[in-house]
C-alpha cells in the first residue's frame, strides 16, 4: 500500500503545441490508474501553473467555436472536478496583470468541490520537493 505523487508543472503556452493539453489529460488519467495497480496502491497527480503556463487557465476560451476542439479551460476544470490539487503561481499572475477573476478557479458549475489555489512560487517549489516525480511541459 503506497501512494506515488506526481507533480505536473505546466509552463508552456496553450495551443501552439500539444504539451500543456496533454499534461492535463494525462494528469486526469491518474483517476483510473488503479486498474493497473495492486489494491491500495495509488498514483496522485497535482497540477501547477507557472510562467507562460498560467495562460492555459484563462476563462472563456473559444476553441470549440472557432476550431471545433475542446479547450484547455475545459481540461483545467476537469482537474478540479476530479479533485486534483491545483496550484497557480502568484508572482506570474502579477507579472501578467491577471487575477483569480480571469481564471478557472473551481468546477462549481459541474458540481465539483475542489478550488484552485493561487500561491507564491515557494509553495510550488515545496510541491515539487514532496513529489516523487516531476513532469514539466
Amino acid at each position: 500500500m503506497a501512494t506515488k505523487k506526481l507533480a505536473f508543472v505546466v509552463r508552456s503556452l496553450p495551443y501552439k503545441t500539444e504539451a500543456s493539453r496533454l499534461a492535463l489529460t494525462h494528469a486526469i488519467s491518474s483517476q483510473t490508474v488503479e486498474i493497473y495497480l495492486n489494491d491500495g496502491d495509488l498514483v496522485e497527480a497535482s497540477v501547477s501553473y507557472v510562467s507562460d503556463g498560467v495562460f492555459n487557465i484563462l476563462k472563456n476560451q473559444q476553441g470549440g467555436k472557432h476550431y471545433g476542439i475542446t479547450t484547455n479551460e475545459g481540461h483545467a476544470k476537469n482537474t478540479l472536478l476530479l479533485d486534483l490539487k491545483v496550484l497557480i503561481c502568484k508572482e506570474d499572475l502579477d507579472k501578467f496583470g491577471l487575477t483569480g477573476e480571469n481564471l478557472v478557479m473551481d468546477a462549481d458549475d459541474l458540481g465539483g468541490d475542489m478550488k484552485a489555489n493561487i500561491v507564491p512560487y515557494s509553495e510550488i517549489q515545496k510541491e515539487m520537493e514532496t513529489a516523487d516525480h516531476l513532469l514539466f511541459c
Binding site: K4, L6, A19, V33, I35, Y36, L37, D41, L134
Partner: protein, 120 residues
C-alpha cells in the same frame, strides 16, 4: 538496476527530441535497467509500421526492435492519439502496445526515475 519511465510527446522526424529519448532508453537498457517508453501526441508517429528509411531522416525501428528483444523494454502508444492520426491496430509495429493514458501513470508507480519530454 532500476526502472526508467520515459514519456515522449514530440514528433518523429526532424525533431531530434524523439531520437534523444530512444537513444537514452537504449543506453539505459544496455546498462541493465528496465525502461517503459510511452508515446503520446505526435510521438505516436513512431508507432506506425512501414516507415521507409531515408538518409535525411532518422530511422529508429531497428534500435527499438533490438530493445524489445531484451525483454527489458516496453513501448506503448496512446491509443486515442494514434487513432486521431489514422493509425489503427494493424498499423502498430510488432511488439508495440496501444493503451489509454493511465498506462503511463501506472508505469510511473514503480519507476525509479521518470523523464517526461513534454513539448514538440
Amino acid at each position: 538496476m532500476g526502472k526508467l519511465t520515459i514519456g515522449t510527446f514530440s514528433s518523429l522526424v526532424g525533431s531530434l527530441s524523439l531520437d534523444f529519448s530512444v537513444k537514452l532508453a537504449e543506453a539505459a537498457v544496455k546498462k541493465g535497467h528496465k525502461v517503459d517508453f510511452w508515446m503520446s501526441g505526435n510521438a505516436t508517429m513512431l508507432a506506425k509500421k512501414g516507415q521507409k528509411a531515408f538518409k535525411d531522416y532518422s530511422y529508429l525501428s531497428k534500435t527499438i526492435q533490438e530493445m524489445i528483444a531484451t525483454g527489458n523494454f516496453n513501448i506503448t502508444a496512446c491509443e486515442a492519439c494514434a487513432e486521431a492520426r489514422g493509425y489503427h491496430k494493424e498499423d502498430c509495429p510488432d511488439g508495440f502496445l496501444r493503451k489509454s493514458m493511465d498506462w503511463y501513470l501506472a508505469s510511473t508507480f514503480e519507476a525509479d526515475r521518470v523523464l517526461h519530454i513534454g513539448g514538440d
